[in-house]
Symmetry: C2
Subunit: 189 residues, 2 copies
């Protein structure tokens, strides 16, 4: 008799997941990644990022055949033409996406089959800061609220544990809550 085990859970190949974790434990230098984006101004508040290459596991990754192109804009009230979501909205998307993927991967590793993961994010901003009208309000969001609705074949307690663990592991949650040093260079030739 042959036992066939389906190792895919929540769309995540858990055998490959655990193999990746073992490999990185054995060779920590493979964990160094470098992600990149290039951006080009188009007109007014409209600009476009191109995302393709990245460095991972000791070399340049070449598995992406096509680049992703994503457009940012501003709504009319912020002097734009809605060519795309605005940068602050993209930041909320980045946070939602990272927390969601972390939840899905943690659940897969812990044998929890998820049925749905939905979230609503809100970010409050006093735009006097970013518009330079007043020095008192900060430029960015004062606070962000994330509200998850998660269902799956586990107890409420287990599902909450999965979300808490995912929150403690999410890359973008860490960046947004703790901040990251950013170095800006300018060439004007």
């Amino acid at each position: 008799m042959t036992t066939i085990t389906n190792t895919t859970r929540n769309g995540v190949d858990t055998e490959k997941l655990f193999a990746t974790l073992d490999l990185i434990k054995a060779q920590p230098e493979l964990a160094k990644f470098r992600f990149r984006a290039t951006n080009r101004w188009i007109d007014g508040s409209h600009n476009r990022s191109t995302i393709k290459d990245f460095y991972a596991a000791g070399g340049e990754d070449t598995t992406r055949s096509e680049a992703f192109e994503i457009d940012a804009g501003e709504p009319a009230i912020l002097l734009g033409t809605d060519a795309g979501p605005n940068p602050a909205e993209y930041l909320l998307h980045a946070l939602a996406a990272c927390l969601t993927t972390s939840i899905v991967y943690v659940a897969a590793a812990r044998k929890v089959e998820l049925t749905s993961v939905e979230s609503t994010l809100t970010g409050d901003m006093d735009v006097r800061g970013a518009l330079g009208v007043d020095e008192e309000p900060r430029n960015g969001f004062e606070r962000i609220r994330v509200s998850f609705r998660v269902t799956g074949n586990a107890s409420k307690e287990k599902l909450r544990e999965v979300v808490e663990r995912a929150q403690r592991r999410s890359a973008v949650y860490d960046i947004v809550t703790n901040g990251v040093p950013v170095a800006v260079e300018v060439a004007t030739t």
Copy 2:
């Protein structure tokens, strides 16, 4: 004789820009904005955000007729199928887009006509943190580097001043460098 003044510079209506600044100076309560994103898990590392409504200037903005839908994914090495840029790459895009728009608006206000604004962003990450393999590396980027190339009808010094001013005003730059409190709620029904 009638003098017709074109108030649009860099694609930004500067008359409207200064009118907006004056209005917000006079009525600071109009500066309270709330941006939103909703996200839904699709499969594995693939999820999708919907972005449309926001609160601005004392009420719900209704100028967007259609929602933006943006997909996030992961490349194969991070167990995905490249359904979209990954969340950390979206964060770089948000930062690039916000700094670029800030540069364009500041230049418009200061009578600088820009010819081009391009940027390259890199973010270094030791994925042992996010994968939970080691407690030592942080989950998010260790550092981000932004390299701008800016041209326009102003001296190099003036163009650099524009970038510096934009950096001091960018909402996403503030969020990413200084961090923001994030509250996460979970419903598991």
